[in-house]
């Protein structure tokens, strides 16, 4: 089931005008920001399908930038996100991409700060709900129907156990888990879907463990 909670239907509380093009876009931006760990200096955003055709009218650009500034869907600062980003020193570039995407509301975000880079592909599936389909070249299939944790970490022994034991301590059950890496000993990615929601404090607790790079919660 794509939609799990009644609050996916009656909600979210958000700044208008579009749940998919504004709230969903803000959520994609925010997940990218969380995974990056801090505010990027430069962001390049490719927009596909309906996102590319109507982003100005819907404030999709404003919302994506609001998310990158770590604003939630109901944060009124979203309205002024573009000027706030400029003041904060975040350079953002939008590219309307004609390439075909699997879903009409797709955005590809490249976040940069010097040598630190992160690439995320997010899809807004409707009603403010999002899916993350790609992370740093890893194809991932986050359905978005369950609460999920994305953990970017160094590929070392004990990393998975450390995360699992923190979740266990907070009585959070893992319903699905996937670990992938490109090169042995390099950067790896954990995708963990859970039965219970993971509070921000728990994500922070995980982030300070050895070998952890970034942690993002996808509710």
């Amino acid at each position: 089931m794509k939609y799990r909670s009644v609050f996916d239907i009656i909600g979210p509380v958000m700044i208008g005008p579009s749940s998919s093009h504004t709230a969903g876009a803000a959520r994609i931006g925010r997940v990218a920001r969380r995974l990056f760990g801090h505010m990027p200096k430069k962001v390049t955003i490719h927009l596909y399908g309906s996102f590319a055709k109507t982003y100005k009218g819907h404030g999709t650009d404003i919302a994506l930038v609001g998310g990158l500034l770590d604003f939630d869907t109901f944060d009124e600062r979203i309205v002024n996100a573009l000027s706030l980003a400029e003041e904060a020193g975040m350079e953002v570039k939008f590219i309307e991409d004609d390439a075909a995407a699997d879903h009409p509301n797709t955005a590809r975000l490249l976040l940069e700060d010097g040598d630190n880079k992160l690439e995320v592909v997010g899809v807004s599936v409707g009603g403010g709900k999002i899916e993350i389909t790609e992370l740093n070249g890893f194809d991932i299939s986050l359905s978005g129907s369950q609460p999920a944790l994305l953990v970017v970490h160094h590929d070392r022994y004990g990393a998975v156990a450390a995360v699992a034991s923190i979740l266990a301590k907070h009585e959070i059950n893992i319903s699905y888990m996937e670990v992938s890496r490109k090169v042995k000993g390099d950067i790896a990615l954990m995708i963990i879907e859970t039965d219970q929601e993971v509070a921000d404090e728990i994500a922070k607790e995980i982030e300070v463990q050895p070998h952890m790079l970034n942690v993002a919660v996808l509710a």
């Binding site: 609050f7 700044i15 208008g16 709230a23 009124e76 009603g127």
Partner: protein
């Protein structure tokens, strides 16, 4: 618990509980949250809806583009004259749906039901019926759970995204959800709720998503307005005992099929329908400084 409207109605009937209660129990089961927490969260959403309605009917907000705003105020003054042909209750619901979408278009705070572009129907209907039915706070919150239960089925079996299924998936779903919830609020049965949803949705099938200049303004605000009126009429029909010949789940499937057959130009790309009319093109050129073919 339930995946279809048929299962939803069956659970409500066998356990002798309203649809809203089935949704609440499912939410408790699914999230592990307490009943109090779930009620409190929905009460907050209700408050956001009420604030948006009040703002829209009193302030007469204008959107940044200037395309929409002020119509909720016009409708309220017209109702006051006592000349409303469609009746005060119906028109009050219409004005409150408009109010919500005007606030949404002005980048104000709203609660998506099920989406932002279709956020007017459910609260419009609820606050429009409030003077007549005098619901308690709990009944108003339950109205939202009942709406949510039907929306949950549509979202999981079809779509609530204009980009994926056209306006029928957004305002169409919202209208069906509101119709079903009105039935419960007015004392009807779960089966009547399903018929109300089916009757309402049948009349929204085929509705395309063709926003002028890609803005959630024209025709979205007025589609929410008429959606609210359709929801109340459909609920009245079901409460009178009128049944939908096509079962609700099959109507939802049909809506989904139609959405898949719809060309991309009519699914929130502003490349067809009203968005391509000469007037719409003029508006778009004025707002963004260029026409869709890229000419400056």
């Amino acid at each position: 618990m339930f995946r279809t409207v048929e299962e939803l109605v069956k659970i409500a009937d066998t356990k002798h509980m309203p649809i809203s209660e089935v949704m609440i129990l499912k939410e408790i089961d699914e999230t592990g949250k307490s009943r109090e927490d779930i009620f409190e969260q929905m009460a907050k959403n209700l408050q956001v809806m009420e604030d948006a309605v009040e703002r829209g009917i009193k302030e007469g907000v204008k959107s940044h583009s200037g395309l929409t705003g002020g119509d909720a105020v016009l409708l309220q003054s017209y109702i006051q004259t006592g000349k409303a042909l469609s009746g005060e209750t119906l028109l009050d619901a219409v004005s409150k749906a408009v109010a919500t979408n005007e606030v949404n278009a002005a980048m104000g705070t709203i609660c998506a039901t099920p989406t932002a572009g279709s956020a007017g129907v459910v609260p419009g209907v609820l606050f429009g019926l409030k003077p007549k039915l005098n619901p308690s706070k709990e009944q108003m919150i339950r109205f939202l759970f009942t709406s949510g239960a039907f929306g949950y089925v549509v979202a999981n079996n079809a779509s609530i995204s204009g980009a994926a299924g056209g306006c029928q998936a957004e305002v169409g779903s919202a209208t069906g959800m509101a119709a079903a919830a009105v039935v419960e609020l007015a004392g009807g049965t779960p089966e009547q709720s399903a018929h109300a949803m089916a009757i309402a949705l049948k009349n929204m099938i085929g509705l395309v998503c063709d926003p002028v200049a890609g803005l959630v303004e024209v025709p979205c605000v007025k589609r929410n307005a008429i959606g609210a009126s359709t929801a109340i009429v459909a609920a009245d029909m079901a409460l009178a005992g009128v049944k939908s010949r096509i079962p609700c789940d099959e109507v939802i499937d049909a809506m989904h099929q139609v959405g898949q057959m719809m060309p991309t130009s009519l699914k929130e790309t502003a490349m067809g329908g009203l968005a391509m009319t000469p007037t719409a093109q003029e508006i778009e050129a004025k707002i963004f400084g260029f026409a869709k073919d890229g000419q400056k």
